[in-house]
Symmetry: C2
Subunit: 399 residues, 2 copies
DNA sequence: CCGTCTATGTCCAACTAGTGAACTCTAAGC
DNA sequence: GCTTAGAGTTCACTAGTTGGACATAGACGG
């Protein structure tokens, strides 16, 4: 860290290499570590001892001078990460460890009109409750990922104007939560986190580039390019909801006309069904009715799918992701909405780009965002954090 | 290389670090190298000696035991790279050195109907001529970047169907050229190379994310994300020309209707002016007439700009690049086309994304692609190639 | 014109960290 | 019970970086 490019940094890199290998495999013997990392057995021996002393790693079977295959695995309590997701109506929290396991997860309703302060209070409470429930040491928290349903200004960390949580505009969620929990907090918007969540734990496993389309009260997309969230220089990448589909279409809340959102988002779609199906319909309800065979709801969902497909076709021509994952309430409609999407993509995207695109429903449902927040905390932390001793009570008092 | 993660690799990394620092600064003293790289003066001393012996670096003023500030710079003949660009009607070749300087550049007309073999023959000839002209040693060629006006299949390196160079479909340009020149050849399509060229030498300097829009007989975009060409998993990213603007618009050669290309590309636009301005009009001619005040041409160009702006607005919403550079013949029209583009972007893109977007004309004109090819050769080579001794006749006979 | 001062580059001894080879240990197979 | 093979450790060695001592040369001031 101090001296970039000199033995100590090499050593650090090798430590990380070992940790990464162990994490990916879950559990390895030293010999296997040596093979997968390319390091010599002797080096691995030293590194494993160092990590074991530091507490980041556990050596399972024998403890003394045993010989046969001692499995090395990340010690469960080396550090934990927390994901917090503020949704339109929910607050969700998940606790995970550095081995990418989710230890606990819980959600509770959140009043939309609540002030941001109340929201953060509730979040802090729920985090503490979950930590207590899992029985881990609070000091082991390595980082927090935070999802908010609105645009975040990259530099200042300020939450931009969002019609979803009216009282929250201008607040600085990362700062707030850091103040309460005393650990690094990383924020991003829900679409980006959903993308990351599906990539790591859901329908995007095995892919490096993914677009996560979330249809709820608005329409947004989270882009993951080469395994990392792509935010764009201004932090507003992925605004698929405001692609223009029809220059003379309905006026959108963004001020333009005929945005994809005006054909697909709940706030514009639900009114279409009000005269026939009553006024207190939700997107969830429409999906349920459609699955039960209601023709009107089916038609509306298919139309929404077609329009989303047009947007995805544009996305596909421009970005050519290998996978598109549909999230939000609408994903529950399954083929009722995916079919029309695929059809539209097939029609409007150039064939070579469309051919190798797979459009899948999200596998995580409403959990995608919290899990993405967890993944964000893990990735922002980097593997090095757990080697710094700040976590694992390593570096005994010799300074 | 053999042993990833062990002193020799550290040494390699440090060699590269020094080379990179020198390249970026052009010329540095050892003390400055030590400061910018963070390495110790002793290490720098050793590394510089090694590089000097290897021939990759030159030490300028004194040669013996002098003390005051000996400038270290990349030796001009440590290696050269070559860029080759096959355009619609041109063949362009540029020769550059590892210090990112262009040593020679030349273009000649190329018959569209020529076979690919003839084209490669001509390219080989021109490359040899330029090498002879610059007086560098042919064995110093480190790599070649090759631009072709059509889609390249990433895996096989096969040129896809392209209406621009009819006889070339199915050829493997990289293989062909490698066979002739005997050095690594990297291919990409002209839009991607144009993007890279403008990024490194033109209107994109200082930016990390850029979209280069090339309007010629077709409309394509090259995307650079975080300093690297983004091709997408299928290699077809950037197909902005086939974004659908009007579902019931004219039929496009891609089979869809109302693609951006049908409103902006030469093949669709020129016919509009045939009855009034004659049949042998070129895009260049239209631009010239427009600049001279011809109202019909001005109108057509403005309309093209508006449509391109719609496409850019979509691009902007989805990807949020910090800069869009317009290339191709159309760029010569300057504000006549940029104005309408900006206007359209302002209208159709979400404000937060549009606000920080700058739309600029290309600074390199028709040279963007060759220079991009040069840059591709440099970047694909990586800094390490010139440390391998394969180039610089290092590693004297002691094995 | 000369001494002093300072920054530059080089040399050397010390130290860090990885490696191959030898060695110890265990469990399995005969 | 003996052998064998794989696992992990120890040790001497080597590669490579570092801090400090040293030589050098130009700038500055007298």
């Amino acid at each position: 860290m101090e001296t970039p490019g000199s033995q100590s940094s090499l050593h650090r890199a090798n430590l990380e290499r070992v940790v990464r290998a162990v994490r990916l495999a879950g559990s390895l013997t030293q010999a296997e570590i040596a093979r997968t990392t390319g390091l010599s057995a002797a080096t691995v021996s030293n590194i494993v001892r160092e990590l074991k002393d530091g507490g980041t790693v556990e050596v399972t079977p024998t403890s003394a001078g045993g010989r046969r295959a001692r499995a090395v695995s990340l010690s469960g309590d080396a550090g934990i990460v927390i994901g917090v997701d503020f949704g339109h109506t929910h607050l969700r929290v998940a606790v995970g460890n550095l081995a990418h396991q989710v230890l606990a997860e819980e959600s509770e309703p959140l009043d939309v009109d609540a002030s941001s302060t109340q929201g953060f209070d509730r979040a802090e409470e729920l985090v503490n409750r979950l930590i207590a429930a899992t029985g881990v040491d609070e000091s082991k928290i390595a980082g927090v990922g935070l999802g908010v349903p609105g645009p975040i200004d990259g530099e200042s960390g300020t939450l931009g104007s969002t019609a979803i949580l009216p009282g929250w505009t201008g607040s600085k969620p990362a700062e707030e939560m850091r103040g309460r929990l005393g650990v690094p907090v990383h924020v991003d918007n829900d679409a980006n986190l959903g993308a990351l969540g599906e990539l790591v734990w859901g329908s995007g496993r095995g892919v490096r580039d993914l677009a996560y389309i979330k249809v709820a009260s608005g329409v947004g997309a989270g882009l993951v390019i080469d395994g990392k969230i792509y935010r764009g220089p201004g932090g507003t990448a992925g605004e698929i909801g405001h692609i223009t589909l029809d220059e003379s279409g309905p006026v959108c809340r963004c001020g333009n006309r005929g945005c994809l959102e005006t054909f697909a988002a709940a706030r514009y779609v639900l009114p279409l069904l009000q005269s026939s199906h009553g006024t207190d319909l939700t997107m969830e309800g429409v999906v349920r009715l459609a699955r039960d065979g209601d023709p009107g709801c089916r038609r509306v969902i298919a139309d929404v799918g077609r329009h989303i497909g047009s947007g995805v076709a544009n996305l596909c021509n421009l970005l050519n992701p290998s996978r598109v994952v549909l999230g939000g309430d609408l994903a529950e409609a399954g083929e009722l909405v995916l079919g029309p999407i695929r059809e539209s993509v097939g029609r409007y995207a150039i064939p070579s780009a469309a051919r190798q695109l797979s459009v899948l429903p999200g596998a995580l449902g409403g959990r995608a965002e919290v899990l993405g927040a967890l993944a964000l905390a893990l990735s922002e932390m980097g593997d090095s954090t757990l080697l710094d001793g700040t976590l694992s009570a390593a570096t005994p008092a010799f300074t």
